[in-house]
C-alpha cells in the first residue's frame, strides 16, 4: 500500500516528475557512454600497443637490457620458440596458448645516407615470424616486406626516417654498428619498404633488416637473438606463461606489455580516478534535482501528511512512504538511460567514433584515431546500484522533513 501510494504520488505532478526522470535517464546514459569511451580509448590503445609494437610478452637477457651489447644473446632461439609453442597448451582444449613468436636480434648504431645520418635501433627479424607477431602489413605504406623483393641486404625504414635522410625507396643506406667482439662494423642496405607506425616516437628510431644479415654483421651465430616477442591466443594465459618462463630462465627478463608500457597502468588508474570524480559530480547534480523536487512535493503536501499523522500513521511509515516515492522518482529514469546507452553502443561499440579531427596530437602519442567504445556489462549494474544509493540519499532529507510536521499545525491552518 505504501508503495502504491508512493507510486501514485510520483505521478501527481506528472511534468515535474518527468523532468527528474529525464534528468536521471540522461545522467545515466551520459555516464555510461563516457565510461565506454574511456574504456574504448584505453582498450584501443592497449590493442594497438600489443599488435603494432610490444606483443604480450618480451624476453631479453638481463645483461643485454643493462649494457645493450651484442655479446649478450639468447642462443638457439628458434629451437626454443618451437619448444614453447609445443609446450604451452590450454589444459582443457589442448590448443596452443601461443599464437606467434618472433625472435629478433638488436643493435644500436648510425644510419648514414649520402645526405644525412641518424642514430637508429636496428632490429634483425625473421620475415615470416615477425609478420605473424606484429601487424606490419598495416604499417607498411610503400614498398614490400622481406622475401617479396629479390634485392640483397634489404632494409625497411620509416617514412619519417626516409624524409630525414632524404632517401627514397630502392636507395642505399649504410649501417654502422658495434659487433659482438666490440669492433665497429658496417654494411650497405637497400631500402625495400617504408613504414608508418602508430607512434611517431618509434618512427624516429626503428629500422628493420633480416636477422641473418644483422647476425652476420654483428658476428653472431645465425640463431642468436636479443629479444623474443610472444603473442598469445588469449591474454588470459599471460600470467601463467610468464611465471613458468621466469622460473625456467632466471637470467632472462620476462616482461609483459603492461611492464613494457607503464603508461597503460597510469591510464587505468587515471581513468578510474576521473570516472570516480565524474560519477560523483553527476550523482551530486542528480541528488540536488531529486531533493529539490521531493522537497517541493513534501512541502505542498504538509496538510495531507499532518492528517496522516493525526489519524495514526506513524513516523516510520511516513518516512518509508517518502523514501519509496523518492526511490521511484530517482531510479525510474535509470533503465531508460541504460536502454539508450545500449542502443548507442550498437553503433559506437562496433563502428566506433572517428576522432581524426583531433588525430595529430593523438597519433604523436601512439593513439589510434578511431575509438571503438567498449563497456564492461558490469557497469550497468554498478551504475544502477549507484543510482539507487543516490536516490536513497536524496530521500533522507525530504523524508526527515515530512516526519517533522506537527499534525495539529498542518490540520488547523487555513
Amino acid at each position: 500500500m505504501l508503495l502504491k501510494i508512493a507510486w501514485r504520488n510520483v505521478w501527481r505532478n506528472r511534468l515535474r516528475s518527468l523532468v527528474v526522470i529525464t534528468a536521471v535517464a540522461i545522467g545515466v546514459a551520459a555516464l555510461l557512454l563516457i565510461i565506454a569511451y574511456f574504456q574504448g580509448f584505453v582498450g584501443t590503445y592497449v590493442n594497438s600497443v600489443i599488435h603494432k609494437e610490444l606483443s604480450h610478452l618480451q624476453i631479453h637477457p638481463k645483461a643485454f637490457l643493462r649494457d645493450r651489447e651484442a655479446q649478450y644473446f639468447i642462443p638457439q632461439s628458434d629451437a626454443l620458440t618451437e619448444k614453447w609453442i609445443a609446450t604451452f597448451k590450454d589444459e582443457t582444449t589442448g590448443e596452443p596458448l601461443i599464437k606467434a613468436i618472433s625472435a629478433r636480434s638488436q643493435a644500436q648504431g648510425m644510419i648514414v645516407s649520402p645526405k644525412a645520418s641518424r642514430a637508429v635501433q636496428v632490429y634483425g627479424v625473421k620475415p615470416r615470424q615477425e609478420k605473424a607477431v606484429i601487424s606490419w602489413q598495416n604499417m607498411l605504406k610503400e614498398g614490400v616486406w622481406f622475401g617479396e623483393s629479390q634485392k640483397k641486404h634489404p632494409i625497411i625504414i620509416s617514412k619519417k626516417m626516409a624524409g630525414r635522410l632524404q632517401v627514397k625507396l630502392n636507395k642505399k643506406v649504410v649501417l654502422n654498428l658495434v659487433s659482438a667482439k666490440g669492433e665497429v662494423v658496417s654494411g650497405a642496405f637497400r631500402i625495400i619498404g617504408l613504414f608508418e607506425s602508430h607512434s611517431s616516437k618509434r618512427d624516429e628510431v626503428q629500422v628493420l633488416i633480416q636477422q641473418k644479415d644483422l647476425n652476420e654483421l654483428l658476428e653472431l651465430p645465425p640463431k642468436a637473438a636479443h629479444e623474443i616477442a610472444i603473442l598469445l591466443q588469449k591474454p588470459g594465459a599471460l600470467e601463467k606463461i610468464a611465471e613458468s618462463l621466469k622460473k625456467q630462465y632466471p637470467d632472462w627478463s620476462i616482461q609483459n606489455y603492461k611492464e613494457l608500457a607503464p603508461e597503460i597502468q597510469l591510464f587505468d588508474s587515471q581513468m578510474l580516478l576521473m570516472l570516480g570524480i565524474l560519477i560523483g559530480i553527476v550523482m551530486l547534480a542528480l541528488i540536488f534535482s531529486i531533493v529539490n523536487t521531493m522537497l517541493m512535493a513534501v512541502l505542498e503536501r504538509y496538510r495531507e501528511l499532518g492528517m496522516l499523522m493525526a489519524i495514526g500513521m506513524n513516523r516510520l511509515k511516513i518516512f518509508g512512504m517518502i523514501v519509496w516515492e523518492t526511490l521511484i522518482l530517482g531510479t525510474a529514469g535509470a533503465p531508460i538511460g541504460m536502454l539508450l546507452t545500449y542502443l548507442a553502443m550498437q553503433q559506437l561499440g562496433t563502428k566506433g567514433l572517428d576522432l581524426s579531427a583531433f588525430s595529430k596530437g593523438l597519433r604523436a602519442w601512439g593513439f589510434d584515431t578511431r575509438i571503438i567504445f567498449s563497456l564492461n556489462p558490469s557497469w550497468y549494474w554498478k551504475i544502477a546500484l549507484t543510482m539507487m544509493l543516490t536516490a536513497l540519499l536524496a530521500a533522507l532529507y525530504p523524508a526527515w522533513k515530512a516526519i517533522r510536521f506537527k499534525p495539529v499545525e498542518a490540520i488547523n491552518k487555513r
Binding site: M1, R8, M307, A310, I311, G312, N314, I411, N412
Partner: protein, 227 residues
C-alpha cells in the same frame, strides 16, 4: 468511569510573547454513546479543546483521561498509535488521501492497524454503504462533492473501531442538504451502533441535532445542557 474526562485543562498559546489563553480550566466528562456538540463564538477555544482531547496538542496544565489513560503520559510515538486505535477523526477539510479511492481511504486506517485483508475489504464496503456512498467506492476524492468527501471521512473515522469520533466543524464547508445528510448518518451511527460523537459547530441546525450541548466562552464552559 467516564469515556473522556478532562481536569482543569488550560491552554495558553505563546506564553512567552503574546499569551493567548485559549482554555482557562475546563472540567468535562463525556460518557460512552454521547452525541455532543461543542459550541461557542469564534475564538472561544472549541478547536483547541478538541485537539487536546484528540491527543493532537498538549495542554498547558491539567489532565486528559481517556478510558482512565492519562494521554500526557504517552510518548509522541505511542500517542500516534493511540490515536489510530482509539480515536476517529473527521476534520473540516483535507480528510482524505487524494491518490487513494474512497474505499482505499477507508481501508488504509485498518491497514495501519494490520487488520487482515478480507476484514478490511468487507468493513470498508459496509461502512461506505452505511454512509450511502458505496457506488462511489472506486472513485478518488477529487471526483466527490464536499458532502460525499465528509461522508467518506466519517466512514474512515469509524473503520478503526475507535472509542469515539472527534469532528471539528465537519459541516463548515457543506451546504444545508449535505449538512443534513451527514448529520443523519452520524446520528444513526450513534443510535444504532452506540458510537460516541463529539463535534464542534457554529451551525444552529447542527446544534439542534445534538443531545448534549457544551457551550464554551472565552476558554470556559458556560453552559452544559441536555435538551
Amino acid at each position: 468511569m467516564s469515556l473522556i474526562e478532562t481536569r482543569q485543562l488550560t491552554k495558553t498559546y505563546n506564553p512567552e510573547t503574546v499569551p493567548v489563553h485559549a482554555l482557562r480550566g475546563v472540567d468535562l466528562c463525556i460518557e460512552k454513546g454521547e452525541f455532543t456538540a461543542i459550541v461557542g463564538p469564534s475564538g472561544s477555544g472549541k478547536t483547541t479543546l478538541l485537539n487536546i482531547i484528540g491527543g493532537l496538542d498538549k495542554p498547558s496544565s491539567g489532565q486528559v483521561l481517556i478510558n482512565q489513560t492519562d494521554i500526557a503520559q504517552l510518548s509522541e510515538n505511542q500517542l500516534i498509535d493511540f490515536r489510530r486505535d482509539h480515536i476517529g477523526f473527521v476534520f473540516q477539510a483535507y480528510n482524505l488521501i487524494p491518490v487513494l479511492t474512497a474505499r482505499e481511504n477507508v481501508s488504509f486506517i485498518m491497514l495501519l492497524q494490520k487488520r487482515p485483508a478480507a476484514e478490511r475489504k468487507a468493513r470498508a464496503m459496509e461502512l461506505l454503504e452505511a454512509v450511502g456512498i458505496a457506488e462511489k467506492a472506486d472513485v478518488r476524492p477529487i471526483y466527490l462533492s464536499g458532502g460525499q468527501q465528509q461522508r467518506v471521512a466519517v466512514a474512515r473515522a469509524l473503520a478503526s473501531r475507535p472509542d469515539f469520533v472527534l469532528a471539528d466543524e465537519p459541516t463548515a464547508n457543506l451546504d444545508s442538504v449535505a449538512t443534513k445528510r451527514l448529520l443523519d448518518i452520524m446520528a444513526r451511527l450513534n443510535e444504532e451502533e452506540g458510537m460516541t460523537f463529539i463535534f464542534s459547530t457554529h451551525d444552529q441546525r447542527v446544534i439542534d441535532r445534538a443531545r448534549r450541548i457544551i457551550r464554551l466562552e472565552d476558554g470556559k464552559i458556560t453552559q452544559d445542557e441536555t435538551p
